[in-house]
């Protein structure tokens, strides 16, 4: 048997250890060495504040009384956690972007930063949580009593009460020390969270150890325990379907609406990815916590004397088996469960009380207090510390009032139903933009009232806060208003009855009033921010620029954030605006940022009210909204115009670049042309000059020679003339100065004449070119400048004659009429024109073969092209015909109808 004093010593040692853990974690966080403090595992373990002493002791008692129903308490949260992507992720994102400090702050902020709502939710949370805290005090006290009983003498009621008082006092000290260290609720309580994570491990290990001891130490393994379960009274318990579904729903709601769960899930969350791990790890934790509950209950019922409190089986079973070490571990587990819940709940509730009740009252009492100098922070910190002590005192009071007689499970469920009244307003707020403040206020109030009337007040027992007459016959004898049989529905279990009426009427009122109401502009802004939190994370534009003194704002901010932090904030903003010093322009954006910064300390509603005191108006008007919208529209229009202008500029630049390229190209062409022309002129001139020099020396030449030389001179002169004629011709054609003389003619005749002319002009001896014609198709009547057209034909035929390198050169001239136009193809059987030359053959002075072999200056095809352009047709090279191929296209206008 463990001496009681030793147990107290172990307990105190454990508390000192927790203090140490919290202290070290806090120190590390202050030095910025967060490391494992921000791991998803710490986050997941901190969620275990869900498992209070109610789980640790109460689940076994619950199972012993009602069979498997205890599982619903853990299956509900499992459903919420595995569906984290849908709900929890959104809550966490909203919590971070809006700097939410508590569930009351979330509701108040969503519904237009309403103080009324914040206060209502706070009161609801305090009333709903007090029994729960009492429950923890009770379980710790009872567990002490178990050891005391086994020690020397049974405890009297006075001993129980003083133990509870000591525990409550100790917890207040711990919570005040580590829970109110920093004012900014957004700055995580690393010390507390780490200590809670350690406690989570202790309670898990303790419960698993007791379970393993029971199964393998007492029941004799798995088969043994299965037999015992089958024989135990637990198997005979009824399975109540309504309670099964109802409590599953209730616990699913509780995991997000309980103030302490909201604190660890949303406020203390530092990274959304931690949710991903918690989504399976926390259900696993719950599963492990509940796996040995039934075996412990069964063995307890079997081995403990009849009438023993099943809520204490976790302690009494190891104790009666004389394993004191295990019992001590179990005691520490239960102690951990109780303390972690109380600490987190006290932090969450004190934040809510100070931000939504104390600060608004203080602001009202001090009038224009926001502008008074002096530190508000000590007021806030004091408010929080006093709240913590007051909340624990309330819990202690409840414990004394109810006399610690209630079964643990029923107290827990009363609490769950109370805080679940926030659910319609919460879900409606983050998924439905039409939800209004009025709907939320009335819905929550109705739910709160019905819950208090049908469940909370009757929980004190007949003769407690409600007279037995009222419970049996209803107020003033009106039967259909009986607390356990509203509107004549009496068949339901009291819990289900209360849950059904409170939540359904709450949701109905919330929905109906929201439907017919019209929200204020600020509500609508916040509604859009919350519902569409993933689309825009920018804050609501609550402020319009006014004549606000930055100095007043700085003064106020210093009092809440502390001098250093506030000055840094103002200096940064001033620097961002390009100003020196500490006083930036009070733009709407800055006011909004400042308000949010303050909201991290005092909550959205108070922060809004404080900024409002200085700015002079505490809400936006429709005009402001329109001004914002108008500004946006103007900016958009302006940017559209800029975009159009820039597109036009790009277009112009592109055109200029193209023109520039063309000019450069032309300049290059001109230079090339000049050098070509001088070259072409120089060659015959040189010949003429040298032969005329020979002729000027009379004795050296014979008359025959002289005649020959003169012939050469004449040939060169003719060539020169022809070159100059061609150049002139080209220049005239290029400038479009030439007038085309249209006259009737026949294509066949023109080709005949061209073949003849081309043949005559060539040297007769090597004239081996065979010409194939397409006969009848050539009979096309034309109205065009026939002389110019012949010139083109002659040029093409003589080219073939000159350049076709086949042994038996053949030129086929085929004529075709397509779509009114006439195409004449000149195709020879030579090797054709190499691909790289095809692009340039129509340019001036371009020659495919080098040298003067054929004696042309390379102007022929250029002239052809110009002529065809002038005639309205065109000439092109036709690749892939086996030899050189040119297509001359005559326009439809040149073709005479018929």
């Amino acid at each position: 048997v463990i001496p009681f004093n030793l147990l107290v010593a172990v307990c105190l040692g454990y508390v000192v250890f927790l203090f140490g853990i919290a202290f070290v974690a806090e120190r590390r966080a202050m030095k910025g060495r967060l490391g494992w403090l921000r791991s998803p595992w710490i986050y997941t373990l901190s969620l275990s504040v869900y498992c209070t002493a109610w789980t640790f002791y109460g689940a076994v008692g619950y199972a012993a009384r009602s069979g498997l129903e205890y599982l619903t308490i853990y299956l509900g949260p499992t459903l919420v956690l595995v569906g984290w992507w849908w709900l929890l992720r959104k809550l966490v994102r909203i919590g971070r972007t809006q700097r939410i400090t508590s569930i009351a702050d979330l509701i108040s902020s969503r519904y237009g930063k309403s103080n009324t709502l914040g206060a209502i939710v706070t009161i609801l949370a305090v009333v709903g949580t007090t029994p729960y805290i009492a429950l923890q005090l009770q379980s710790v006290t009872l567990s002490f009593a178990v050891f005391a009983q086994s020690d020397l003498r049974p405890w009297a009621a006075a001993d129980l009460n003083s133990t509870a008082l000591w525990v409550a006092a100790g917890l207040s000290v711990f919570t005040v020390l580590f829970g109110t260290r920093n004012l900014d609720a957004n700055e995580r309580h690393h010390g507390v969270v780490t200590a809670i994570a350690v406690e989570a491990l202790v309670k898990l290990v303790a419960l698993l150890a007791v379970g393993i001891f029971v199964v393998w130490g007492i029941a004799g393994g798995l088969s043994g325990i299965a037999e015992m379960i089958a024989e135990s009274p637990i198997s005979q318990t009824d399975f109540n379907g309504g309670r099964w579904a109802g409590i599953t729903f209730l616990s699913a709601a509780a995991v997000i609406t309980l103030p302490r769960m909201f604190q660890v899930l949303v406020v203390e969350n530092s990274d959304e990815r931690h949710l991903a791990v918690a989504s399976w790890a926390f259900p696993l934790y719950l599963c492990l916590m509940s796996v040995f509950v039934v075996p412990i209950a069964v063995v307890g019922l079997d081995t403990q004397p009849a009438g023993a409190n099943p809520d204490l089986f976790v302690l009494t079973v190891p104790l009666s088996a004389n394993s004191e070490g295990l019992a001590t571990l179990a005691f520490l587990g239960g102690f951990s469960s109780a303390t972690s819940m109380v600490i987190v709940a006290a932090i969450a509730l004190s934040t809510m009380v100070s931000n939504h009740i104390v600060m608004p009252v203080w602001l009202r009492l001090t009038g224009a207090g926001a502008m008074v100098s002096g530190d508000v922070r000590h007021i806030l910190i004091t408010a929080r510390r006093v709240s913590i002590a007051a909340i624990l005192a309330l819990g202690y009071l409840y414990f004394r009032l109810t006399g610690g007689s209630e079964a643990l499970a029923s107290i827990g469920l009363i609490s769950f139903t109370g805080v679940a009244q926030v659910l319609p307003a919460l879900l409606g707020g983050i998924f439905w933009r039409g939800a209004t403040k009025r709907g939320a206020v009335i819905g929550v109030s109705i739910g709160f009232f019905i819950w208090a009337y049908t469940l909370f007040l009757p929980s004190f027992g007949p003769g407690g806060l409600m007279s037995p007459d009222l419970l049996t016959f209803g107020p003033l004898g009106i039967e259909w208003l009986r607390p356990h049989g509203l509107f004549g529905i009496t068949g339901l279990d009291p819990l289900l009855h209360a849950m059904f009426w409170s939540l359904s009427l709450n949701a109905l009122a919330f929905f109906a009033i929201s439907m017919f109401g019209f929200p204020s502009p600020l509500e609508r802004l916040q509604g859009a921010q919350f519902v569409n939190v993933f689309e825009h994370s920018a804050g609501a534009r609550g402020w319009v620029q006014g004549v606000v003194e930055a100095e007043d704002l700085l003064m106020m901010s210093q009092r809440i954030l502390g001098a250093e932090k506030a000055q840094t904030l103002f200096q940064q903003e001033a620097a961002a605006q390009g100003k020196m010093g500490y006083l930036p322009d009070t733009t709407a954006l800055f006011l909004e940022q400042l308000e949010r910064e303050l909201a991290g300390s005092v909550g959205a509603a108070t922060s809004h009210a404080m900024v409002g005191q200085i700015v002079g108006r505490s809400s936006v008007s429709v005009e402001d909204l329109m001004a914002v919208a108008d500004e946006t529209a103007q900016i958009m229009e302006y940017s559209t115009r800029l975009e159009a202008q820039s597109e036009e500029l790009t277009r112009t630049a592109r055109q200029l670049r193209e023109a520039n390229e063309k000019l450069t190209e032309l300049s290059v062409q001109k230079d090339a042309f000049l050098s070509q022309i001088s070259h072409e002129l120089r060659t015959p001139m040189t010949t003429i000059r040298s032969f005329s020099e020979i002729l000027m020396t009379p004795d050296t030449t014979t008359p025959q020679e002289r005649k020959k030389f003169l012939g050469v001179i004449q040939d060169e002169a003719i060539r020169l003339t022809r070159l100059l004629d061609d150049l002139l011709d080209l220049a005239v054609l290029e400038n479009g100065q030439v007038a085309m003389q249209a006259q009737p003619g026949n294509l066949g005749d023109l080709l005949d004449r061209a073949v003849m002319t081309a043949g005559a002009s060539s040297a007769a001896d090597d004239d081996t070119l065979t010409i194939q014609r397409s006969g009848g198709a050539e009979n096309v009547a034309l109205i065009t400048d026939t002389d110019r057209l012949s010139q083109v034909f002659i040029n093409l035929i003589s080219n073939a004659r000159k350049y076709c390198d086949a042994p038996d050169p053949v030129l086929s001239i085929s004529t075709r009429r397509t779509q009114g136009r006439v195409e004449v193809d000149f195709i020879d059987n030579g090797s054709g024109i190499p691909k790289r030359a095809q692009a340039i053959i129509f340019e001036k002075f371009s020659r495919v073969s080098d040298g003067h072999a054929a004696g042309g200056a390379g102007l022929g095809l250029a002239i052809c092209r110009e002529i065809m352009e002038n005639l309205g047709g065109h000439i092109s090279y036709l690749p892939g015909q086996g030899g050189a191929a040119f297509r001359v296209v005559l326009p439809a206008t040149a073709v005479q109808a018929g």
Binding site: F239, W244, T248, V277, S279, F534
Partner: protein
């Protein structure tokens, strides 16, 4: 005024990610169904029911764990307008 064009269809990777998110939304529905299933049963052994509940519990945990890795990676990517995007 130009409105930013969102693609009509998604790349395979983003498509898979969306489906993982859908699965995560659907998992609680499956869970509710499995948890409420015992309501339909007549009377049976408590031990059998206990075993059934723990089996589906473990199943939900395993499924959530499988999804969480994929979704966690999706969270590391830059934000997308996932609420009304193409699927």
């Amino acid at each position: 005024v130009k409105t930013p064009q969102r693609p009509l269809f998604l790349a395979r990777q983003s498509y898979r990610r969306r489906r993982a998110a859908d699965a995560s939304r659907f998992l609680p529905v499956v869970g509710v169904f499995l948890i409420l299933l015992p309501l339909l049963r007549g009377s049976g052994g408590t031990a059998g029911l206990l075993a059934y509940l723990f089996v589906i519990w473990i199943l939900l945990i395993v499924l959530a764990a499988l999804l969480s890795g994929r979704l966690s990676r999706a969270l590391s990517l830059p934000d997308t307008h996932e609420e009304d995007d193409p699927s």
